[in-house]
């Protein structure tokens, strides 16, 4: 069970359906292994249900009971196949992509509970070097248009990340290894959900590569001129 959880405000927004797609993807991975957050999300969904009941009604077009019952007998509209094939679809929308044939292609660093990432990575996906000891994979999807960046970061043991603050939200989920910063030590499954005014300087722990999923919706702000030079490399 993870020790660091997303902010309750983030869990509420997940339940409300208002997170960006990248943030939702990250939350799905964390929720897959965090009962604590699952329970919070259920509470926020229950709040959603009750809010739904407080809504004013918008009358539906008049329909006879026979017409309604006829609808119940109609076969379900299947989503167009092409639609599903052309684009990675994660689990939240209830349409499952075929994981079985992806399973063999699973990178060894990807934990089972983060299978929602399989549409974007396989064992041949190459890491792009961005700085000494740091490489990344950018995840691309049309639905990430509301996210600034959705990427995987691989940090070599003992590497010190440049200190930075944020002008927007930054969610970090640890997939493998661990890192420490001013706010604590983050291990597999943990989420760092930092307020923008918090500056931090993560250092990867020494035993193995630290791999995390990072979703940002505004550029990172690096301190000093050297890290600023790195900014373009992060593609932000």
């Amino acid at each position: 069970m993870p020790k660091h959880h997303p902010d309750e405000a983030t869990l509420l927004s997940y339940a409300a359906g208002s997170l960006t797609s990248g943030a939702r993807l990250l939350m799905e991975c964390h929720l897959a292994r965090c009962e604590h957050c699952q329970a919070r999300v259920r509470e926020a969904e229950q709040l959603g249900g009750q809010l739904l009941e407080t809504l004013q009604i918008s009358p539906m077009a008049a329909m006879s009971e026979q017409a309604l019952f006829a609808l119940l007998d109609e076969p379900e509209n299947q989503p167009e196949q092409s639609d599903v094939k052309n684009r990675p679809v994660s689990a939240s929308d209830g349409r499952s992509y075929d994981v079985s044939d992806k399973q063999e292609q699973k990178p060894d660093w990807l934990p089972e509970w983060a299978n929602a990432l399989l549409p974007w990575v396989n064992k041949d996906t190459s890491w792009q070097r961005v700085a000494p000891g740091i490489s990344q994979i950018r995840l691309q999807d049309d639905s990430f248009s509301r996210d600034k960046a959705v990427r995987l970061l691989r940090i070599a043991p003992g590497t010190c990340m440049p200190g930075h603050g944020h002008s927007g939200s930054e969610l970090t989920l640890i997939l493998q290894g661990s890192y420490s910063d001013e706010t604590g030590r983050f291990c597999e499954g943990d989420v760092a959900d930092l307020d923008p005014d918090i500056k931090h300087q993560p250092i990867a722990d020494r035993d193995q590569d630290c791999i995390c999923l990072i979703v940002t919706d505004a550029p990172l702000r690096f301190d000093g001129w050297v890290p600023r030079l790195m900014q373009p490399f992060f593609g932000l």
Partner: protein, 191 residues
Amino acid sequence: MEKVKSVSANWNQVLTEIARHQDRQQFARLYEYFAPRVKTYLLRFTASEAQAEELAQEALLQVWRKASKYHADKAAASTWIFCIARNLFIDQQRSGKGQLEQRTDSYHEHEQLLNDRAQEVDYDHRASVRTLDQAIKELPIMQAQLVYKSYFEGKSHSEIAGDLDIPIGSVKSGLRLAFKKLRAFTGVEDV
């Protein structure tokens, strides 16, 4: 459709009947109560009333098809229906079908809606709903607005911060506080 007067309906029970016996009459009652509310919910995210109506119908048809998976001891019917409607909206947004327009009218309008609804009779059965109404009204206006924008405008923390011209940290802390207060009224323990 024939006007069904719903007196003290327990929607969890109704949905359970639908789940167990594919009870069409019960579904008609559920449809009549929830479809117009789901439509209002979806109106916030859709470009036209026709689209909201179509999606609301689709949401309720999904309720019918998936009913066998419903368990009253795990979730209230309203929670379950909310999740189906929300997933439809997410799905729609993701596929980019029918360019969704996000409305940004104010919470005040919603508050007006809440007041108007006080005359309606058919929701008296859910005392908890009225209590939630009350709890929302007792929230500081800013917190109520944050909740409204999250659930009914589908906006992320950054987007809300931009709309209201406040720091993201304030959006998060406001939502946290509101969640804490409202959670006490959702009666989670009972479900």
